[in-house]
């Protein structure tokens, strides 16, 4: 590999004017990405962003890399084709809670279980932005939107819990405006070979303003956000003295405060990112009563789909030699007419 000159943030900024509403959370995510890619040593030419349809899915236009703005919900399928055709590419998928979990739920499910080496970023604003504010599969019950004037009644999906149920091998959660942690999550996702799923809480100031405020506002952040780290105790709070204890029999989880009622740090559970059941529990934590969990909730690598496809193809080639069309056509019974 040749070592090209070091790229900077600007190299990843395309010449297209960004067309999101003022104040949209997508701007921060875009900035984080443009900042992170050069740090990762990614190149423009080997990077591809594939998206579906939605405000979030406009993302590729703003990246000065290869990009494919496909059709609603199908980005994981298109990205699978891109990656299988050229596994040397770094393929990112950008999707929304509607694009990825409503019309595109099935493709997301299957790309996750197959473990194709992609980074999938789901911008979760709990709303359909582009179509002007209908509720989405992650909207909370009671959401009053143009299609639900009396409040929505569908139980929401939890993207990370869904991903874990789909046998995803890397599941993480971040916040649009926490750009430095976002960079770290992008890095971890990029490094993980296989499908990396990252849910990003994103504010849509136009149709669902403040949806995540209770978790993301600076003054509540430390109390309402639990940032997990592999091998570290599950601690949060301003003084990092609150933690999660897995109660008797391990089936219930509770919040404890170190120093109160005889609780010590030893009582606090330690994050094991290879434990799917623990990840599932963390993914479900919600206000009120619990902080919301962020960071890499689960990561347990396996050979990626594209790598195994490549290995099988190579194996066939070794065993059978480069295919010869003439031989192929003449296999089996043939006869000659003279």
């Amino acid at each position: 590999m040749d070592t090209p000159q070091k790229l900077t943030r600007k190299d990843f900024v395309s010449d297209q004017e960004v067309r999101w509403c003022p104040g949209c959370g997508d701007y921060a995510i875009l900035a984080a990405m443009q900042r992170t890619l050069p740090e990762l040593g990614a190149t423009r030419e080997n990077t591809v962003f594939v998206s579906g349809i939605g405000c979030s899915s406009r993302f590729p236009y703003y990246m000065n890399t290869y990009g494919f703005h496909t059709i609603h919900g199908r980005a994981p399928a298109v990205a699978t084709g891109v990656k299988l055709a050229n596994p040397a590419l770094d393929v990112w998928v950008v999707t929304g809670d509607g694009d990825g979990l409503s019309i595109g739920g099935n493709h997301l499910l299957h790309v996750l279980r197959r473990n194709v080496d992609l980074q999938i970023l789901m911008f979760n604003n709990r709303i359909y932005g582009l179509t002007k504010g209908q509720y989405s599969p992650t909207s909370l019950v009671g959401a009053k939107t143009p299609s639900t004037p009396m409040g929505s009644i569908d139980m929401p999906l939890n993207p990370c819990a869904f991903a874990l149920g789909a046998n995803a091998r890397f599941v993480a959660r971040g916040i649009d405006t926490s750009t430095s942690t976002l960079g770290e999550l992008f890095t971890a996702a990029y490094r993980h070979r296989g499908t990396s799923f990252v849910e990003i809480l994103q504010n849509c100031p136009v149709f669902n303003d403040g949806e995540w405020e209770a978790v993301t506002m600076r003054d509540v952040a430390s109390e309402h956000q639990l940032w997990v780290e592999h091998g570290k105790p599950l601690l949060f709070g301003k003084d990092r003295n609150r933690g999660l204890r897995l109660a008797a029999g391990g089936r219930h989880v509770e919040v404890v405060t170190i120093g109160e009622n005889g609780v010590t740090e030893a009582d606090v559970a330690v994050h094991d990112q290879t434990n799917r059941t623990l990840g599932f529990m963390l993914a479900q934590l919600a206000l009120p009563g619990f902080p919301m969990a962020f960071g890499v909730l689960f990561c347990d690598p396996m050979p990626s789909y594209d790598a195994t496809v490549g290995a099988q193809n190579a194996d066939a080639l070794t065993r059978l030699g480069t295919g010869d069309i003439d031989k192929l056509l003449r296999g089996g019974h043939t006869w000659t007419v003279e």
């Binding site: 299988l84 019974h333 000659t336």
Partner: protein, 622 residues
Amino acid sequence: MDTPVRPTDAEGREILDSVVIRFAGDSGDGMQLAGMQFTEATAVAGNDLATFPDFPAEIRAPAGTTFGVSGFQIHFASHDVLTPGDEPDVLVAMNPAALKVNLRDVPKGGLVILNTGAFTPGNLKKAGYTRNPLEDGTLDGYRTLEIDVSKLVLAAVEPHGLGTKDALRAKNLWILGLLYWLFSRDRTPTVEWLRRKFAKRPDLAEANIAALNAGHVYGETAELPTGISVYKIPKAHLSEGHYRNVTGNEALAWGLAAAGRLAQLPVFFGSYPITPASSVLHTLAGLKHFGVTTFQAEDEIAAICSAIGAAYAGVIGVTATSGPGMALKGEAMGLAIMTELPLVILDVQRAGPSTGMPTKTEQSDLFQAVWGRNGDSPLVVLAPATPGECFAFAIEAVRIALEYMTPVIVLSDGYIANGAEPWSIPNFADLPAITVKFRQDPTGFNPYLRDPETLARNWAKPGTPGLEHRIGGLEKDFDSGHISYDADNHQKMTDTRAAKVQGVANSLPEQTVDCGDDHGDLAVVGWGSTYGSIQQAVRRARREGLSVSHVHVRHMWPMPRNLHALLSRFERILVPELNTGQLVKILRAEYLVPAQPLDKTSGMPFRVSEIAQGIRDALAKP
């Protein structure tokens, strides 16, 4: 079998010009296998042939029922064979249900071979017979061979120590042995094939061989009723060459592999199983060493989308399906049209609408292929006429897709997909090269720069430095390739997309006449799998002195440049189709010619006689 008074050869075998045999039995009776073996043996014997497998939709329907009957028809002759035949000369009926379903197709005087062992009261009832057809005069007027095959098979394989169930499975080989004797076929290839197939179970191989031989010996030794003798069908005068039998789906798969080699590009095949297209996936899955990657997607939409992604990444993207799956792929086809990516879509049509009759054939997806998408969304549609042509058309589809940066649909159907015909094997060296030009130069690049001649946009592969670009389903600016909502630009782009696809006609051969003159009283215009029936009917009509020609369209969209002019030289135009009239409407709409339909939608191919009748009717109209 042609006439009652028959010539014989030196060995006293009656010489026949052509024979149609139908094997019919329970799904579990192995009729497809018997048919396929008979086909191989017949090909080796030098006859021309055509076959028609006709399966039930159920995997293995309850034994003995009429809906579980599986059939395989073969037509072979000393002249060239175009269809699997209208009516069987010989019917093999392994049980009452098979007789019930098939006897009506056999003309009086035909030979019916019956496995009486299966004519039990239970089976008779399941077949819906209230009386035993062997006894109630149902078979009057037919020549019959009534044999308790079940019993004879058990006896034959007894020495091999198989259980009754396994032993009875060899019934099909016993019958095959008898037919090999009747039609003077060599058993060796089948014997060898059995040994290969059961390499790990030599006991089964030998038992089956014993059954095959027993059937043959039965023919040699038993007193056959008068009127039944050993037949000889002289070799056909096939043109010179190296031949094999090929089914349409095999030919499609091999054609794709060959196209990859010709273009020197990998092939990516994304598909979701569906009858009758699945075997293209199965065949290609075994061709990894040809640079073919197969991907069984979660559904048809993912399948086509993965192929689009692969095309974007710079390889040959292909997807395959049948009608219901085509309906699902429409939106994604639009994306390929808008992004102007090369893509090949195989539609192996089946009888519809909806789930319809999955194992039956029809040509009713033509409209869907040409016009079945949102927006004005032109693409190219091809239709091979025979199993063998599928090979060349797979290559042609790839060529057009790459040369014009456009999706191309290939319409096959269940009849072509499963039917076999002797095929003159081409040499790879003789196949046309496919040239691919990836953009490399960043200077002045934008993704929608076009070749002024073909109007194809330039293909820039991710991984190429300096060509980073974004494409998508929104309208693009003609000049820059960026998103554009400009009114004039949309007009221009819509016109350009249409012109590009119409321009493909410039690279196509002119329409030729498949049989007859290039003018006359009647043009019979067909497409796809009806080729054989139309050809034969037209030949027959011409022999009767009628001024009829056969024009078979293979480029459905755009159509050949001279088609309008050609059709204008005929007084009348008849369009036989296995649908309710689709090509006929396209011809009328495009050329304003008074084409008339001849439709059939029974899930079965045309009989030659139906088209012959259509020709007479068309010429008789005032």
